[in-house]
Structures are given as structure tokens and as C-alpha cells.
């Protein structure tokens, strides 16, 4: 049974997606339980795979029984197992969270919505699990296409944002495909493990250099790295809340995973150190990304748009951790992938709950929200602490490793940028917390005081509140646990020569 | 591989591509895009990729053109560049 777990991870949500419209044809209310059931399977299977990887090391799964360079292979190692658990759990929670939004915004279209949601999660997990370069492209397109469909269904302006996303996303995916073509032309293989053994002899070939450049550019577009981030704020701000909750935290992280895979598994680290100065370029782009993201976030009053600019900066963190090319930096980057996915997910959940309750997304709408939605705002405070890097929350630990990595690489500018960015985050979140907790009730802007007016509690429905509480608890628990995560998982994901 | 045929087809393809993005009337541009697709099919048949060629002829040039025409019918065929 446990031998077939990797196949279940993809097959269950894919089958679920194919059958959802069939079920929804007659029994529309059954779509949601069906989707949840089909998403519970990958959670179980990915946790099983993670445990197997921890106990007995990386393993492969040959689809159809064909040996790897000829057939397609699933390759599960420590990094991909960790990513699978992350995607499966966040996918399940996001689907639970989607219920009230779908009931109000997409009445009558539940089957389509849940189908696309399942396909999105299938695509994300497929990118992580597969060990074949072209298969990654196919899954990348599955999750991009379902993402286009879901995002375009948002508020006013969403179709235009989606159209730009389609154009730039297609450029990214096609660049990735070009990279695959160049590598295939030079080696004749598509399997990552096979390529990793062939490539070291060819590092000085111009084809390999160009292929690597196109891989990196394509992935950077999907990730929203600084000069190529311009599609991201528009797309994620205008998307429906239940959709940006799912896509925003995961898509960037999966692309970051792909970057780590390309730089450290497909190519050996010494390629990126000695032959192309790509690490330096990525590092400085990350610095600019963090600064631009921070400044742009400070300029926003719409909190959802603010979070998308924070994401630009957070992508910078991860890329910076990758670019310093040492053990502490890469550990911090991988840890930050997990932590940041949880934090951004929680932020979007909170925004979704607040919008659902009819409050606006501008900062002044947060007035006295702590009395109306105490649990939601408590979760928001926890995320804010984590974003600023206050110790019990998980954000502190990944930033600690990132800063350690930059110091070990003697990149003082990088370290200062990281510290400065924490300060910017503190300012960003304190503005909102101050408005929510410390502003006088009734507010000075309206002029008429109702000091004694009791603000009724008006909390989000349970299906929204439960994911919020779980994620906030996870942010608190992941912090103290990070030592253990590094010891059992991440340590093995970092290449041995560091 | 017949080199002359190959070259002529490649030149036709490039001309079609340039024409398709420069014609102001969108309907004509889409028709030229279809022609581009069919020239591409010929080229691939000539290179021996028959499966790719007939998939492109039916799916790429065929259904693609139909989708474009349907969308242009629903919107406008005016273009400024």
C-alpha cells in the first residue's frame, strides 16, 4: 500500500477534478464534500511519503513501470516531500475556507470552481513531485491555466489583470520550455536525475548556458522576482478572496522550489558558483526586490494590495537565501518557503474573512475591528509579529538563518537589507494594529462620539475561522519546532558540499 | 529533405508571421495566422513529423482559427496597430 502513495498524491485530486462536474450536474451541494474528500487523500499520502523519506531516504516511483530515462519518474526527496505536505495542507484549508465566498460570489458555479481548485492543487503538487523536466512543464500549464480561470472571475479589473498574467505567464512557461529544449539538445535526456549525471561534462557548452538562463528567467517570471513582478500585485489583488488565498502563497513558493531544484539538483552548485555569476545577479535583484516591495507596500492603503507587495519582498528573501550559496542561507531559504507560505496564507485568510463580513480593505476600515472580530484580529497580530521577526513566531527563525547566511557570505548589504525590511514590516503592520486596537471607538473622523456604544461581536463563519485559527497556531508552533524540522528534513535537502 | 522547398517554406512562414502582426484588420490577421499555421504543417511534414503536422493542422491552425474568429465576432475587428 505505502508503495503506491506517490501515485495517490496526484491521481486522487486529478480524478476528483474530472468527476466534480459530473457530480455537480445533479447534486451541486455534494461538490464541496467531494473536493474535500479528494484533498484529504493527498494530505494523508504526502505525510506518509514524508515519513518514509525521513526513515529510509529519497525514493522514486516509475509510472507505468518504465525505467527512468525512458519513462516518467516521480522523485521524492526531503525537499519535495516537505513541499508536498505544505501544498496539501494549505490546499485543504483553502478549500474549507472557500465555502462562504463561493456561496455568495459564485452561486450556481460551484462545480466549476471546485474543479479548477482541485486542478490547481494537482498542478502545484505535480510540479513538486515529478522528476521529468517536460512533465514539470505540463503541470506548470495545468496550474497556470486553472489559475487564469480562477483569477479572471474576480472583481472589476480582474479580466485585464488576468490577460496580462496570461501573456507574461506564457512567456515564462515558454522560456522554461526553451530551456528544456536546449538541455535536451545537448544531452538527449529529460530526466532530472539522468541529466544531473550527464551535465557536469558539458558545463562549458554555450547551449547549457543559454538553457540555464532561460530556465532561470522563466521560473523568475512565475515567482514574481523583482523586474518581472509587475503582473503579480494586479492579478492577486483583483482575484476573488478564496482564490488568492490559495494561489498567492503557493504559486510563488513552488516556483522558488523549482529554482532550488534547477540550481542545486539539475546543475551542481559549482556550476552556479564558478561558471555563471548568476548567484550574484540573483542576490542583487533580491536586494532591489526587498527594497521596492517594502516601499511600494508602504505606499498602499488597500491592505490586499499591500500584502501582494509584501510578497514581492518575501520572494526577495527566499532568493537572497539561495543566492548566498552556503548552508545557513539555503536552510533559511527553505525554512522561509514553509514559514512564508503559512504567513501569507494566514494574511489572505484574514483579509478574506474581513471582506466577507462586509468591511472594506482600506486601512481606515480596520477601526475597532478587534471588538467585532476578536479571533481574526488576534490571528492577524500573530502574523504581524511573525512578519516582524518577534521570536516565538516562526518568521524569526527563518530570518535568523537568512541573516546568518548573508553574514557567512560576507554580504553586509544583504544583511542590512534584511534587517531594514523587518523594520519596514513592523511599520506596515503597526499602522493597521494601531487602527484596529488603539484608535478610539467611534473614531475621530466621523466626529460624533458614542463612547458608550457597545460594538457587537460579528465574527466570520466557522468555515473561515477554523483555517485562520489553525494557521495562526501553526505559525506559533512552527517557530519552536524549526530546529527539529531542520534536523530531520531540511538538513538533508541542502547539497552536501555546502 | 529537399533544401529548396525547405527554404521557400521558411521564407513564406516568416512573411506570414510579419504580415499577421502588422495588418490592421484583425479578421485578415487571423486568417493569415491560419495560413502561417498551415505552412508550418507543410514544413513539419517535410521534416518528417507527420503526427505533429496533422495535430497542428487540426488543432493549432484549425480550432485555433475558429476560436479566434468566434472571439473577434463577439468583440471588434478594429485595431490601431
Amino acid at each position: 500500500m505505502t508503495d503506491q502513495l506517490p501515485a495517490l498524491i496526484i491521481i486522487a485530486p486529478l480524478l476528483g477534478a474530472f468527476l466534480t462536474p459530473v457530480i455537480g450536474w445533479r447534486y451541486r451541494h455534494l461538490c464541496r464534500p467531494w473536493a474535500l474528500m479528494m484533498l484529504a487523500v493527498p494530505v494523508y499520502a504526502s505525510i506518509g511519503s514524508l515519513l518514509r523519506v525521513i526513515s529510509s531516504g529519497p525514493f522514486g516511483y516509475n509510472l507505468g513501470g518504465w525505467a527512468p530515462p525512458w519513462g516518467i519518474e516521480y522523485r521524492i526527496d526531503h525537499l519535495s516531500a516537505l513541499m508536498l505536505v505544505l501544498i496539501a495542507v494549505i490546499g485543504l484549508l483553502a478549500t474549507i475556507n472557500a465555502k462562504p465566498d463561493v456561496a455568495t460570489e459564485m452561486r450556481g458555479k460551484e462545480p466549476y470552481f471546485y474543479t479548477l481548485l482541485l486542478l490547481q492543487i494537482t498542478g502545484l503538487m505535480g510540479i513538486v513531485i515529478t522528476g521529468d523536466l517536460f512533465n514539470i512543464f505540463v503541470f506548470l500549464e495545468i496550474c497556470s491555466l486553472s489559475g487564469y480561470g480562477l483569477i479572471a472571475h474576480g472583481e472589476d479589473g480582474a479580466p485585464m489583470a488576468t490577460f496580462n498574467y496570461i501573456i507574461i505567464g506564457t512567456i515564462g512557461a515558454s522560456f522554461y520550455l526553451l530551456g528544456v529544449g536546449y538541455l535536451y539538445m545537448a544531452t538527449g535526456s529529460l530526466n532530472i536525475a539522468d541529466l544531473a549525471t550527464i551535465l557536469p561534462d558539458l558545463y562549458h557548452s554555450k547551449m547549457i548556458l543559454v538553457g540555464f538562463a532561460f530556465f532561470t528567467t522563466g521560473v523568475a517570471i512565475k515567482m514574481g522576482l523583482f523586474p518581472l513582478h509587475f503582473w503579480m500585485p494586479d492579478a492577486y489583488t483583483t482575484a476573488p478572496n478564496s482564490v488568492s488565498t490559495l494561489i498567492a502563497p503557493l504559486m510563488t513558493k513552488v516556483a522558488a522550489y523549482l529554482l532550488i531544484r534547477i540550481m542545486f539538483t539539475l546543475f551542481q552548485p559549482n556550476f552556479t558558483i564558478s561558471i555563471v555569476p548568476v548567484a550574484t545577479i540573483l542576490g542583487w535583484l533580491a536586494v532591489v526586490a526587498i527594497i521596492v516591495g517594502g516601499i511600494k507596500a508602504l505606499a498602499q492603503t488597500d491592505i490586499k494590495r499591500m500584502v501582494t507587495y509584501i510578497m514581492v519582498a518575501e520572494v526577495g528573501y527566499i532568493v537572497m537565501g539561495i543566492s548566498v550559496m552556503n548552508r545557513a542561507g539555503l536552510t533559511g531559504a527553505i525554512l522561509h518557503i514553509v514559514n512564508d507560505a503559512c504567513m501569507i496564507f494566514c494574511l489572505f485568510l484574514v483579509i478574506g474573512a474581513i471582506s466577507y463580513k462586509g468591511h472594506g480593505r482600506e486601512i481606515y476600515h480596520f477601526q475597532n475591528l478587534n471588538k467585532k472580530m476578536p479571533y481574526t484580529m488576534a490571528a492577524f497580530v500573530i502574523v504581524a509579529l511573525s512578519m516582524c521577526g518577534i521570536p516565538p513566531a516562526c518568521g524569526f527563525f527563518s530570518k535568523w538563518y537568512l541573516i546568518m547566511g548573508t553574514i557567512a557570505a560576507k554580504q553586509w548589504v544583504f544583511a542590512i537589507t534584511l534587517l531594514g525590511s523587518s523594520l519596514v514590516n513592523a511599520v506596515l503592520f503597526f499602522r493597521i494594529i494601531e487602527k484596529a486596537y488603539l484608535a478610539p471607538p467611534g473614531g475621530g473622523t466621523h466626529g460624533h462620539d458614542h463612547e458608550e456604544e457597545v460594538i457587537a461581536r460579528d465574527e466570520a463563519p466557522a468555515s473561515m475561522l477554523i483555517p485562520i485559527i489553525i494557521t495562526a497556531a501553526a505559525i506559533l508552533i512552527l517557530g519552536p519546532l524549526s530546529g527539529k524540522i531542520i534536523e530531520t528534513v531540511i538538513q538533508h535537502a541542502v547539497p552536501a558540499i555546502f | 529533405m529537399i533544401r529548396q522547398l525547405d527554404l521557400i517554406l521558411l521564407i513564406f512562414i516568416v512573411i506570414c508571421a510579419i504580415a499577421a502582426i502588422n495588418i490592421k484588420d484583425l479578421m485578415s490577421a487571423v486568417i493569415i495566422l491560419g495560413a502561417y499555421g498551415f505552412f508550418m504543417c507543410l514544413l513539419w511534414t517535410e521534416m518528417g513529423a507527420v503526427d505533429v503536422a496533422f495535430t497542428e493542422a487540426s488543432v493549432g491552425a484549425g480550432i485555433g482559427t475558429v476560436l479566434f474568429i468566434a472571439a473577434i465576432n463577439k468583440t471588434s475587428r478594429r485595431s490601431k496597430d
Partner: protein, 101 residues
């Protein structure tokens, strides 16, 4: 503003093209039967596919057997696209009918 943007994109395109042309320098000559692409993985398909899958068309054999998983993904892509179109365009019809009422 308009021209400025066109120039920027032209420069970006030319840079991409130059990079690609630079990459073609090391490529094996067009149609070389012994290039790595033609000699590493694919010979086994040509030699074995008919014996193992009983299909004379090697492309079909590879598509539907060796790499059938890609083909599953391909059908999932079509499915995704059609469901996306339905998801997006249904709304217009709905709104129209509600306006008509």
C-alpha cells in the same frame, strides 16, 4: 510614452534573440544523426517500441505508453481550459437573464 514602451520591448526582444543565436553556436549541425538528442534516449524507443507495445507508429507508442503520463496531463490541460471558459463565460449569460427579468 507609447514609442518609449515599443523601444524597450524591441531592445528586450533583440537581447533575447541574441542570446538564443549565441546558444545555437554550439548546437550540433541540423539533421546530424549522431547528435546527443538523437542518440541518448530515443534509439531505445525505435528499437523496442514495436516489440513491447505492438504499435508500428513509434510516436503513438511513446505518447500512449512510455510517456502516457504526459498525455494524461495534456488531457487535463484541455479539461482545465474548457472548465475555465465555462466558469468565466457562464456569468455573462446569467447576468443577462437576470437583467431581462
Amino acid at each position: 510614452m507609447k514609442n518609449w514602451f515599443k523601444w524597450i520591448s524591441l531592445i528586450a526582444v533583440i537581447m533575447t534573440g541574441a542570446l538564443l543565436i549565441y546558444g545555437t553556436h554550439d548546437m550540433p549541425a541540423w539533421g546530424d544523426p549522431n547528435s546527443p538528442a538523437n542518440s541518448h534516449v530515443s534509439p531505445r524507443y525505435i528499437l523496442e517500441a514495436t516489440k513491447l507495445t505492438a504499435t508500428p507508429n513509434i510516436v503513438s507508442a511513446v505518447l500512449a505508453d512510455y510517456r502516457s503520463y504526459d498525455t494524461l496531463g495534456e488531457s487535463a490541460v484541455i479539461f482545465t481550459a474548457s472548465i475555465s471558459c465555462l466558469f468565466l463565460l457562464r456569468r455573462i449569460r446569467k447576468e443577462k437573464t437576470s437583467e431581462d427579468k
